[in-house]
Amino acid sequence: MTSKTTNRIESIIKACSVILRMIKARPNVRKSEQVYYEILTKYFTRIRDVKQNGDFLAAHTVFFPTEILYAMNIVPMHTESTTWMTALFTGEATELVTAGAEAGLASEICTPHRGIAGAFTIKALPDPDVMLWSNLICDNTAKSGELIMELCGCPGYFLDHPFQESEQERNYLIGELQGMIDFLQDQSGRKMDWDKLSQLVAEMDKQIKLNREICELRKAVPTPFSPQGFLELLTLDYLFPGQPEATLYLETLRDELKEKVNAKTGAVENERFRLMSLFVPPMYLMSFLEKMSHEFGAVSVIEPFFTYWADGKLDPSKPLESVAQKSYMIPEVQMYGPMTDAKIQRVSDLAKQYKIDGAVFYADTGCRQTCALIKLLKDTLSEIDIPMLTLDSDVVDPTMMSQEDIREKFEGFFELLEDY
């Protein structure tokens, strides 16, 4: 790892420690937030120290079954989260996207993925020992691995996630997972610890239940969870599935929310607009959006494709089957596979159950598979008289839209909601 790379990972760790100091100094900040930043610190410290500790580093794309890596004592590096946290804390977003373009990736490729290729090109991320990727959740993830293998000169494994859920497809996925374990055993010389995987599965099942409890609590009026807090839930499952720290975070959060619900305290002082978020808001605008939420009393209370887990249960006595089962239950994975009537109906049901006033669709310029659902979701929600704001934006590229533009759009939307 070059020192420049180490510095970048170090910058995430440093930023987390500054945030942690601030959290500790402010008595009314959520305790769960503290646990969250401690988890991030631990995650990135392991990546920073990987060589020094003689560990094996596996880079992997989003919605990857990281639990397998933990069960094999391999250090995971989530390419999307690591790249974009680096960018967030070093201010290098544009540089990374530009480097991705210079590596040959055209503007067809979403900025998150152009940035990842850029990060490996300029060595902003450490070269992994292996690259792992899957087709969850789109063509960009499916196609990203080979270029990274080339850029880092490492071997890789592509996990082919089937499109639908027939029995044959589930069996295919289990075979793919087994193939990946064999590959990792060969490459790392580390053995799969099946008992450990069973324990992780049991813990993940607990975590999914906690996620469901948290969702249930967010139904309260006023809603108790921070307006944009759902991103913590996402990141947690990306980075730490089945880890005791993640359970601690979820339990702490659940208890905090329970307390707030009992006390009828809302996340914002004067809750006026209950929102449904469809897709991810621009990362670099999180604090701006949070401030605006407080100003207008607008809170995201449910995200059907980001926090709402599909039905199902994991069985620790069948660990590999459970890893496959989990990957079908992940909220975002509901966007993969055919967009069936049942999935569309669920969005509408959730809007009613969570007493939504309006929905916000963050239309990411490069994200084709989500944007192609804008009209469908808008029509679905309009059937139950819920307006939807479509906000052209970019998850990571700050040059796409200014704070003023976003503010203006939201103000107009809130006026519309007022009149509804």
Binding site: E108, C138, N140, A142, P162, D341, I344, G366, C367, A372
Partner: protein, 377 residues
């Protein structure tokens, strides 16, 4: 002979052959991707036709309103035709989980247009034994669903006959392409695309007949096409012959291609084998065929492109990638590297589906041709 193919394309999307088929009380099923086995539709007694978008580049207001501006113009173009009722004659559509563009096109078509029969096949991205088993199960399911929908039984005998018919098409198209290997081929690249387009919009029985006649005619003809460079066109789906014509108008010769509307469509035959059911033979061919950029590992595709370059004595490669076509755009940096290693220059064009290749594209092609010429000297 070429006039005949041209005429068929003029009445797109509902060609005279399709009208005739419908008037005899038979069904028409549209397919969206080369991983959908046409033989099964044919063996069920329906006419399989390929769903394509507008022939020329077009304002895509409706397509864009539904699929959003950042989906490829191929899917938007197809959806717009469907929304405007141009594909209402279809009794069903069959798609594959090939790429984001097509899977969402399928979702929206099903929701906003619907057809009596619709199915999307899960297509694995690998070539492993397990992937073959999965694909076979999907194809089997497709056959059963179609049987149920059409109230027919698709026998092995009928499948075998359909395979033979489609293999004949493949063999004839190979013959046609072989003619292009010569130093001065009797047919241009644009004309070949016209032939292929027509083939998607008519029964194969009639197509094979016309195609055989064309090949005979060409074998005996004294027509020759020459140019200052021999090119291969690779990349996203392409149906507009004007695009190739605009390249050839600059005195270049497009001698081969790697497109799902041409070489990747016809390249490998279904190998019938007594130890295998016809359905297994079909599955094997479709999953192992000249791969699309969606498949892994990409080297399978790159190696076959390089083979084409050698077989057709190609001087340079033109990559045309439709905006927002992520599978092909992702492959591009790696393909460039492979071709560089072979000392084959590549021109990478960002296009919209249906483009005629004029304006800025023409200027870039011109510069590319000059560079190829300079290399030769």
């Amino acid at each position: 002979m070429l006039e005949k193919f041209r005429e068929i394309n003029l009445s797109f999307p509902q060609t005279s052959y399709i009208k005739e088929h419908i008037s005899s009380g038979k069904k028409v099923i549209g397919w969206l991707c080369t991983y959908v086995p046409e033989e099964i539709i044919h063996a069920a007694g329906a006419l399989p036709i390929r769903i394509t978008g507008y022939q020329q580049e077009q304002e895509l207001d409706d397509g864009t309103a539904y699929l959003y501006v950042n989906n490829c113009s191929f899917s938007r173009s197809c959806l717009q035709l469907a929304l405007r009722g141009e594909y209402d004659f279809l009794d069903g559509i069959v798609g594959g989980s090939t790429c984001d563009g097509v899977r969402r096109l399928f979702d929206l078509w099903r929701k906003y247009k619907g057809t009596a029969f619709n199915q999307i096949l899960s297509i694995p991205r690998k070539f492993t034994t397990q992937a073959h088993e999965l694909y076979l199960s999907q194809v089997t399911q497709f056959k059963q669903n179609l049987e149920k929908h059409m109230g027919v039984t698709i026998t092995d005998e009928a499948l075998t006959k359909s395979i033979e018919l489609y293999n004949e098409t493949r063999a004839l198209l190979k013959k046609l392409y072989d003619l292009r290997k010569s130093d001065s081929p009797p047919i241009s690249g644009a004309e070949v695309l016209e032939v292929l387009d027509a083939g998607f919009r008519m029964p194969k029985e009639a197509f094979n007949d016309l195609l055989s006649k064309l090949i005979n005619e060409l074998s005996e003809s004294s027509a020759t096409h020459t140019g200052r460079a021999r090119l291969a066109v690779v990349g996203s789906v392409l149906n507009n012959p004007e695009f190739i014509k605009s390249i050839e108008d600059q005195n270049a010769l497009v001698v081969t291609d790697e497109l799902c509307t041409s070489t990747r469509y016809w390249s490998d035959p279904v190998v019938l084998d007594n130890n295998k059911s016809p359905l297994e033979a079909i599955s094997k061919r479709y999953l192992n065929n000249f791969p699309c950029a969606r498949m892994y590992p990409s080297d399978e595709r790159f190696d076959r492109i390089i083979q084409l370059v050698r077989d057709f004595k190609v001087d340079g490669v033109v990559s045309q990638i439709i905006r927002y076509c992520a599978p092909y755009a992702h492959d591009l940096p790696l393909l460039i590297k492979k071709l560089e290693a072979e000392n084959v220059p590549i021109l990478a064009l960002d296009v919209e589906y249906g483009t005629s290749g004029s304006g800025q594209i023409a200027t870039r092609v011109q510069a590319f041709l000059e560079m190829l010429e300079a290399r030769k000297q």
